[in-house]
Symmetry: C2
Subunit: 107 residues, 2 copies
DNA sequence: AGATTATATTATATTTTTATAATATTATAA
DNA sequence: TTATAATATTATAAAAATATAATATAATCT
């Protein structure tokens, strides 16, 4: 079925988003394009590992890049990527407030 | 930093959503609660595997369950879970239309 | 040209996920 | 009460993701 393909693609998209370093990258790019050298200073992961995570995000089409001298500039490919991350954080906060009201109920 | 915890939780949420069987489950539950026996017939995965995926979704708090006789009924814990899956599919379709217009440009 | 900087790639070890297989639990029915 | 049905749990094998380490590439600077 065609629906199964959509399901697979959706799962793949989520899987690509399912790593803290990659979420951090998307956060760092949310305000606009940045070079790798800048971003890597804000994380504690090795350069080669960081580059691999960038590669995964790019392979999935969530970010894009260009070369600028010896630097490489990355940016978020389209706005709904950022929106999706925001939506997840919204879901999280709902989940937390949900369990909070549950705690109140148990008091 | 507290932001790092949010990032970790966000990544974990996405990771939980990052499997086709689990997305399928959320789809099957989108219309309302269902028992396992019903859902499992609409997939081609083994019972024990299906149960494990249900367990992961429940552990993450995305679905909840109750027992009804010898059946177990599952439902989506709160609406933004469904919304998040929809948002991902929206992102996907934007991505596709994006590449479509790119293809047109190359013609 | 040779050294240095920024980044990517590749190979591989480690860790985590996933699927399979077997068994356990719980409720109902015969 | 034994059998059957629905589901979960556990152990483990197989596959995939991740991190590490080493090396490669490409641009700039001396």
């Amino acid at each position: 079925m065609a629906e199964d393909i959509v399901i697979k693609l959706t799962a793949e998209l989520f899987k690509t988003l399912g790593h803290p370093v990659r979420i951090k990258i998307l956060h760092m790019l949310a305000g606009g394009e940045r070079c790798v050298c800048e971003m890597i200073e804000e994380t504690d992961v090795e350069q080669s590992n960081f580059s691999q995570h960038l590669g995964l995000l790019k392979k999935q089409g969530l970010i894009d890049s260009r070369k600028d001298g010896q630097r490489v500039i990355y940016w978020i490919a389209y706005p709904s990527v950022t929106e999706l991350v925001r939506a997840a954080e919204q879901t999280l906060s709902e989940q937390i407030s949900h369990s909070h009201s549950l705690l109140k109920f148990l008091k």
